[in-house]
Symmetry: C2
Subunit: 385 residues, 2 copies
């Protein structure tokens, strides 16, 4: 009777989708290579196989009524075949194909007159040098596909750093292929993001615009709401909404943007799924991003969520010190902070910068939530189990 | 490394405890006779056996670090034996033994000078008549044990209704035993309740006082916060806290109270567990009653939760029309109400007044939430699957 949701990936996002589905007594099946993945621990049925295994994807499709994903690494060829068989895949394989290649994504946005940083596809060291000569320093060389959390993204601030990068062994093999793009570094004043959900009928709703603080390309804090004017927030929402509409996206999308010194807004990147910067919605909004994603892909009523309280999210990340089985030290201290909720994802092992959990702190003021969040960050530590 | 929580019962309360535990990556094992009970669907491991099966209780105890329950029908004898073996049982078997007999519970509260309605244990028809002559009409004859949601509670408003009741077949067999108590009906102006949590160190915290609307002894709505003065709310909290302290309760307790015409507060009943009137806390408070219960029984920091928004909870109940596999009709309409969250418990079959789900509506005002809740109630209907 109730629809079953299939998810490619059963990590923390799959887990939180499963938890939202569980409230409505919806069944969830996930495809994930890790035995007893986080989503499975929260009640999802797991197909244990690689995300890109075509047979496993088909098996997943056969077991669900609608297919979605928590990672953008999907095999769009097989997803398209699944769509052709009549199964709903949201966001669609067409949409995923555009998004999963950062170069194609940027070109798509530029073609639709949606503001993005200056960029160019590059195929050789010479091309990188000539494009850089045009767009200037600092710039970034980015892997276009199969990357997340800043992996495969290299910043260079001057010709010397560019030379070093080009000499580095890692790039040598792939520069002749369609693997890299070059992007001008935006001297942003803030990084902001907004979660936009859209259903198959084209209705969109959005969460509040939030402010993100990254370190080494990985999200360390999200402040909700962003400390920007209502006018600027409305402008950011309009840009993000236009992008999702042009993509004909169905489901929830995390749209990351840069705010530049002149009040301009440029889209940095779009995630076709619930997004780390939206995890705070579980505690701080009338509806979570996970529930709204389910509503969008299942054709259930899409309604505008409302922020109930200022909130700050911090990530709990694996450290440089070790890899392997881990535990979070200082949990008791973190839980002693009023308004703090801690999520531990239940991943088996830690590695550098791996997202192992997060904490969301609510407070009557954003400044209060920020102070509490820093207190929590200081007491939490990932240590060997 | 992480503690495992054992729960006697895997219905909706067990499910919502499991969901709260899942956030912290705590494992849960439940004892429940129904195959694939709601808590199991949310990721708990299930031992399928009767709640009172001593071997199953021992098995549950052996698989967890702390034992708790979602129903007060537990076998206190076996629980005491489990405590003696060194396993933590919260609330304790002593506390449960007092609470699970409504007569003992009332006497305990009266002995500690905590206000309760007039009552008396009764063992014969003659005793019922003589006590009623003393305390007056209307009164209630109540089964003292193994009852919930108003089952085994009979109101009589005059001598004729009392005669009819005494002639009724259902009472004949048990009147000579210690099974019934008589209680004066309180002409209340409001029914209120408050969730109090207490840890093993004796620290207590409380949720806001809420207002309950019952129909045929079953909760149909909870309004948060109660429409009473802050002074009266503080008085209700103080009474409820005193009761939990005297019981040496560890865990969360739902304390139901009557507010009489003179501003007096009388305790009606105490539940030694998360309570239906506290389900709204999932969406409306900084922390849910389920998380706070876990914190209390696991010795994690107990902090005072805060109401983020006025909220109204309504129950989704089985109807008189049928028993058996069911589904909730009108879910889409309910989900179209802004601020409404719906929980479907995933019980296999419906029966009269069975709790199959609930909805919580948040709104900027309580009046707004009440209006929305009535709209939702009208569109939801339990129908055959």
């Amino acid at each position: 009777m109730n629809p079953t949701v299939g998810i490619v990936g059963g990590g923390q996002i799959g887990k939180m989708i499963t938890q939202a589905a569980s409230r409505l007594n919806l069944s969830v099946v996930v495809l994930d290579p890790t035995p007893n993945c986080p989503a499975a621990k929260a009640g999802a049925t797991q197909i244990q196989a690689d995300f890109k295994n075509p047979d496993a994807l088909r098996d997943l499709a056969s077991k669900c009524d609608v297919l979605t994903y928590e990672i953008e690494l999907g095999d769009t060829q097989t997803l398209r075949e699944i769509e052709s068989s009549g199964k709903k895949v949201y966001p669609s394989s067409d949409c995923l194909k555009i998004i999963q290649d950062k170069g194609t994504q940027k070109q798509f946005l530029a073609d639709h007159k949606i503001p993005v940083p200056e960029f160019a596809a590059v195929h050789s060291a010479d091309e990188i040098k000539s494009v850089t000569a045009k767009i200037g320093f600092p710039s970034l060389l980015k892997l276009r596909r199969d990357t997340y959390d800043g992996r495969g993204s290299f910043t260079f601030r001057n010709p010397r750093e560019l030379s070093d990068l080009l000499n580095a062994h890692t790039l040598n093999g792939s520069l002749s292929k369609d693997d890299y793009m070059l992007e001008r570094f935006v001297p942003f004043t803030k990084e902001i993001s907004v979660m936009i959900a859209r259903n198959a009928q084209g209705k969109t709703v959005h969460f509040p615009v939030v402010e993100n603080i990254h370190k080494d390309h990985i999200l360390v804090s999200t402040l909700a709401p962003a400390r920007i004017s209502p006018k600027l927030a409305a402008k950011a929402c309009a840009i993000a909404r236009k992008a999702v509409e042009k993509l004909k996206g169905v489901g929830i999308f995390g749209v990351e943007m840069f705010l530049d010194k002149k009040g301009g807004i440029l889209i940095n990147e779009i995630a076709p799924r619930p997004h780390n910067s939206g995890h705070y919605t579980i505690e701080a909004c009338t509806h979570s991003q996970f529930e709204i994603h389910l509503r969008a892909i299942l054709g259930l009523p899409l309604i505008e969520p409302r922020l109930l309280s200022p909130a700050v999210l911090i990530n709990i990340l694996g450290t440089r010190n070790f890899e392997g089985p881990s535990r979070v030290k200082g949990l008791e201290q973190a839980l002693s902070v009023p308004g703090a909720s801690v999520h531990i994802y239940g991943k088996e092992g830690s590695r550098v910068k791996r997202k192992l959990g997060h904490a969301t702190v609510l407070d009557k003021t954003l400044a209060g939530a920020m102070a509490k969040a820093e207190k929590i960050r200081k007491c939490l530590e990932v240590v060997p189990a």
